[in-house]
Symmetry: C2
Amino acid sequence: MEHKIKLKNTPVRNAILKIFKEASVPLDAEMVFKKISKIKDLKGTNEATIYRNLTTLEQGKVLRKIDLRKDSIHFELADLHHHHIVCTSCEKVEDFENKEIEKILSKVTKKSEKFTKVTDHSLELFGVCRECA
Amino acid sequence: MEHKIKLKNTPVRNAILKIFKEASVPLDAEMVFKKISKIKDLKGTNEATIYRNLTTLEQGKVLRKIDLRKDSIHFELADLHHHHIVCTSCEKVEDFENKEIEKILSKVTKKSEKFTKVTDHSLELFGVCRECA
DNA sequence: TTGAATGCAAATCGTTTGCATCTCA
DNA sequence: TGAGATGCAAACGATTTGCATTCAA
C-alpha cells in the first residue's frame, strides 16, 4: 500500500486505494462511498471523508480525474494511463490503450505557443454500446 | 442563422448561437449569461433560459460539451472539432487540430468489442502556460 | 392554435467547509 | 505533541424543474 506522497496511512484511505486497484472502471465519490460502506470496520465512514480523500489523492497525483459526461466526477489510478469508450446511454465503459496517440500528443505538445509544459491529458470516446444500440 | 434542428427561432437562442460563433474559446453557462446580459434587448434574460438553451442545443448536436476540469461545463460549436490545451492555473485555453489523431481514433473505434459506433470524442491536454509557469 | 420558450422561484444534488474531536507519526 | 484525518451539519454553487405566461410558426 505504497503512497507516493506523504499522507497519513489511515484505514479509510487504504481502503479507498484498494478499491481503486481492484476497480476495472473509473469510480465516482458515491461509488467509492458505497463500497466503503460495505466494509465491516468502515461502515460508518462519512461521505465528506470520501470526497476529501479523493481530492487529496488527486492532488498527490495518486488519482486522476476523468470526465465521462455523467453527472459526477470520476477517478482512476493515475499510473494506469489508458483511455475510455463510454456509452452515452448506460454506464458501460471500455478501456483502450494506444501508443501512437501518446507519441503524436507529445509532438503536439512541443508545438504549443502558450504552454511550456503539458502534464496530463484526457481522451474519451463516446458512443453507444451493443446492448444499448 | 441556420439551425440543423427544428427549433424555434427565438432572440435568445439566436444570440447564443452568435456568441458561440464569435467565441474563440469554450464557454460555460455563466459566460454566455453575462454576454447575453450585455445585449440591449436581452438584458433581462433569465439564467435558467441559458441553461435550457445550452441543453437543447447540445441535444440537437449544435453544441458539444467540453470538460476543462474547471467548476462548470463548457460548450463549443459541434462542427468545429478541435482539441484544447488548458492551463490548470488560469483560464487560458489554446486550440489545436491534428488529423493524425483523428485517423488513429477511427481505427481504435473499429477494434472495440462492446461498441458498435463511436459518435464523438474529447481530447484535452492539461498543463501550465508560460505566464503561469 | 399550440407546442415550444421564457421568467421566476424553489428545489436538487454533487461537493465543500467550519468546527470540534480524534488519530497517526 | 502536532499536523493531518474524520464526523457532523450547514453551506455552496452549478444546474434543474414546476408552473404560469408569452411567443413563434
